[in-house]
């Protein structure tokens, strides 16, 4: 990332280099760039693409336009209204986000299409509601902000707004919430299972992007003196997407550079060169598919020279979560799960009423993983229920269930591949410990815990700060995901084949680490799905055998080994 003071310096210098005409042009596009920064936040960080971003720009522009026209004689009041107009746009985006994202996991086509439709709707309202919006001609003769209303201050005003938005965006990208946005773009399910409300996180990202577009739009009205329906419509929305993509959606400055370069070039060439827009469309497709870093990606080799030096700061140790007064209690009560014609679980009843390690075994298709999915709320019970600490949790959203002290390691190691290992671990530490506004505090990035120290001692690769999780081997990913599950210090820990794909040595180390960790988690229930009988014998206090979605047998290792029923299922002997 580019050094902040360097960016400010260049911004101040620019108008002297390019001259007055271009400074004015860039001033106009600086406001669009501020909106593009928000779009980059949604697309490049949180991984969803709003196609109607102009709606918020134009909405705020109309609001502030009204304010300035209405309070013509009291410009001070109008200036006070500016932030309100921007906030209204942000709020509108947040509410729309909540409404659309409420459908579980939705962040693809539906979101993009609905935002596109909203922008077209906005355009229709703006053109047809003549009495308020002035129809096609828009709002004209909007007075300027007192003291900033001559033509030479256009650049200063826009540059100020843009720098402010960049600072905000940079802070958010550094804060835990930024890490969570990047995490959800890569692996939403994993984040949900850490107890984060991913739908709200996405709505917040969209709300912030709406706010940024809103700030830019609110300034636009008094700065340009006119607000037309084009500002809410499809054209500007599409341009913002193109500029953001070509500049580089994933970086902080990419959308800005894309807007300033492509936007101002377009304004010059659009009319003289008929095929300019066709060319830009082709360029867009190529960049999106083959070169997602955009123009900014070209500067990657220079980055070491300009990058801000990251100061190493002292880590902050968080204390272990307070040991619960009573041990955890988990019960599945006559649960049946059917999907279509298939019965996954059939009146399954299991009760885990003492702390300790339990193993669940059973042939493929017995319903072991489905049982975990039922407990974490990813499968709904057709009949029966799940009780955690004597409260019914079946029917709750997965993130609400996991927040009650539940952690799960999935069968195929599930991590955040494009995040650093330390960020993967930090997310686990935040799970259940930080929420709401605390996620805006960058100091949380430096968290560690006694358990993390011990895990790093046992597995030194976990402390490798610079490495991305994608670079890890299968075995290391298994360990990383297990470590993440342990770091949440859960009351109920669900492990789905933690030793799959590990060598005998690695398995032995893992068993040792697991036994140590469970000793630390006082009062916790640990349920392990495992096929490797050596591991089961080593760890299990009690074994449950599932078959055809129901409980076939339970008991200690000796009892299960002696059971004819179990042998019949595994070996296929006659009943």
């Amino acid at each position: 990332m580019l050094n902040g003071s360097l960016v400010v310096f260049l911004t101040v210098l620019l108008p002297f280099v390019v001259g007055r005409f271009w400074a004015y042009q860039l001033g106009l596009y600086g406001l669009y760039a501020a909106a593009a920064v928000g779009l980059g936040l949604c697309w490049g960080q949180a991984g969803f693409l709003p196609l109607g971003q102009a709606l918020f720009f134009g909405f705020a522009a109309y609001l502030s336009g009204f304010a300035f026209i209405h309070f013509l004689d009291h410009p001070v009041i109008a200036v006070v209204m500016l932030p309100l107009a921007a906030l209204a746009a942000g709020l509108l985006a947040y509410v729309i986000g909540i409404l659309i994202f409420r459908r579980r996991g939705e962040s693809g086509a539906y979101f993009s299409m609905i935002t596109l439709a909203l922008a077209l709707l906005g355009f229709q309202v703006a053109t047809s509601w003549n009495s308020v919006t002035g129809g096609f001609d828009g709002l004209k003769n909007i007075p300027g902000i007192p003291g900033l209303d001559d033509i030479s201050s256009v650049y200063d005003l826009s540059a100020g707004v843009l720098l402010l938005m960049l600072a905000l965006c940079r802070w958010l990208r550094h804060a835990p919430v930024g890490v969570l946005w990047r995490a959800l773009a890569q692996n939403e399910r994993r984040l949900l299972l850490f107890g984060f409300d991913t739908n709200r996180l996405k709505a917040v990202a969209f709300g912030v992007s709406g706010l940024m577009a809103g700030v830019a739009g609110a300034i636009y009205a008094p700065e340009q003196g006119i607000v037309t329906p084009e500002l809410v419509g499809f054209g500007l929305s599409a341009d913002l997407v193109i500029w953001t993509a070509i500049g580089g959606r994933g970086s902080l400055l990419g959308p800005v550079i894309g807007t300033l370069v492509v936007g101002s070039l377009s304004s010059q060439l659009r009319d003289s060169f008929v095929y300019w827009e066709v060319l830009m469309a082709i360029f867009f497709i190529v960049v999106v598919l083959a070169f997602p870093q955009g123009i900014v990606g070209l500067t990657a080799p220079l980055e070491p020279y300009f990058a801000a030096r990251r100061r190493l700061r002292e880590p902050i140790t968080v204390s272990p979560r307070a040991a619960p007064e009573r041990p955890a209690l988990l019960a599945i009560d006559a649960a049946t799960v059917t999907i279509g014609d298939v019965t996954l679980l059939d009146r399954l009843s299991l009760c885990f009423n003492r702390a300790g390690i339990y193993c669940v075994i059973g042939p493929n298709g017995a319903g072991k993983t489905s049982m975990f999915n039922l407990i974490t709320g990813e499968l709904d019970a057709t009949a029966g229920k799940v009780m955690l600490d004597q409260v019914e949790v079946s029917g709750l959203e997965p993130h609400c269930i996991t927040r009650r002290g539940l952690a799960r390691k999935l069968q195929i190691p599930s991590i955040f591949p494009d995040l650093a290992i330390t960020d993967n671990l930090a997310i686990a530490l935040w799970s259940g410990r930080a929420s709401g506004l605390a996620l805006l505090d960058p100091r949380l990035r430096r968290w560690k815990s006694p358990m993390l120290d011990e895990l790093c001692r046992r597995y030194p690769f976990l402390a490798d700060a610079g490495r991305r999780a994608a670079a890890l081997s299968h075995g290391e990913r298994q360990i990383l995901e297990l470590a993440m599950a342990l770091l949440t210090e859960p009351r109920v820990l669900l492990l789905d084949e933690p030793c799959a794909g590990l060598s005998p040595d690695e398995t032995a180390t893992l068993i040792d680490a697991l036994r140590w960790a469970v000793g630390q988690l006082r009062g916790a229930i640990v349920i392990i799905i495992e096929h490797d009988m050596a591991v089961v014998k080593e760890l299990a206090q009690r074994i449950y055998v599932l078959h055809n979605g129901g409980l076939l047998a339970e008991g200690d290792v000796a009892a299960i080994q002696a059971s004819d029923k179990v042998r019949a299922v595994y070996v296929g002997a006659e009943k």
Binding site: I114, A117, L121, S128, V278, I282
Partner: protein, 284 residues
């Protein structure tokens, strides 16, 4: 029956069946390949411009059909090959890619034909005496063609061997490939079918709407909402989605104005998304 009521009823049938016809191409590509082709509306636009070119050159109206099939077919083939094929199972990337394609086609139309509106003369003028009322002949023909094409395609899909192959491909591409079905060719053919159907729908509606570069936007959104409301994968869903979206839109637009009609359509689509994420006719 009161002739006025009857005319209104035929209007609704006309609206619903043409909307179903416009949606069909999107339904084929989205439903069978899982690719949301945002450029669907631009393929409709191509059909409409083909009809315009045919009339401008003095050819018969139906000459637009081979032109459209050629352009949409070739374009669909190339697009599937270059843009879509590398991106199957990456729905978000196909979304962005087809959005880029829609941009490209729209800008190309703007560069070739200009920004302005074009309109056509209706190829089959006059009205027909129908159930005791007078109704424009061309619209009656459209109703008949729409119903025939949609039903015919669905019957063919459920009966023919190719239809079985496509279902096999959707169920399990690897297994289908192992069974000797060329999944690549089949997916390519399916995509081309979708773009051609969009083009044909464009010819059908061309004489009745203003032809301009931005016309596709409205069609793709409407078609998409039809699929959201009706759900994917059944002809009943297609028609009930078209009935709800087309019906609501025309009723509200008639009572209030187009903006309210549009707004209601959006709210309805979001509601259906929450309450019946697989569409109103899907069994849970």
């Amino acid at each position: 029956m009161d002739p006025l009521v009857l005319t209104q009823a035929i209007n609704v049938v006309y609206g619903v069946s043409t909307l179903a016809a416009v949606t069909l191409g999107l339904a084929v590509i989205f439903g069978l390949l899982g690719v949301l082709n945002i450029a669907h509306g631009e393929f409709v636009m191509i059909g409409a411009y083909a009809a315009f070119v045919a009339q401008w050159a003095g050819w018969p109206f139906l000459a637009a059909v081979p032109v459209t099939l050629l352009v949409c077919g070739l374009l669909g083939y190339v697009v599937e090959r270059i843009l879509i094929r590398p991106l199957y199972r990456r729905p978000f990337d196909t979304l962005v890619a087809t959005w880029g394609l829609s941009l490209l086609l729209r800008e190309a139309a703007k560069a070739i034909f200009g920004r302005g509106y074009h309109s056509l003369t209706i190829p089959v003028p006059g009205t027909l005496h129908f159930l005791g009322t007078e109704y424009p002949t061309y619209r009656l023909i459209l109703i008949a063609i729409s119903l025939t094409v949609v039903t015919g395609l669905v019957v063919w899909y459920s009966r023919s061997r190719t239809g079985t192959w496509i279902r096999a491909m959707i169920g399990n591409p690897e297994l289908a490939q192992a069974q000797g079905i060329s999944v690549r060719k089949l997916a390519s053919a399916t995509f081309v079918t979708g773009t051609c159907l969009a083009g044909l729908a464009g010819i059908m509606v061309a004489p009745l709407v203003p032809i301009e570069p931005y016309m596709g936007l409205d069609y793709v959104l409407r078609a998409f909402f039809v699929l959201v409301v009706g759900g994917l994968g059944s002809v009943l869903g297609l028609f009930s989605g078209a009935a709800v979206i087309g019906g609501v839109n025309s009723v509200i637009s008639a009572v209030a104005n187009a903006t309210y009609g549009y707004f209601t359509m959006l709210v309805l689509a979001i509601l259906v998304m929450w309450l019946r994420p697989r569409g109103i006719v899907a069994q849970r």
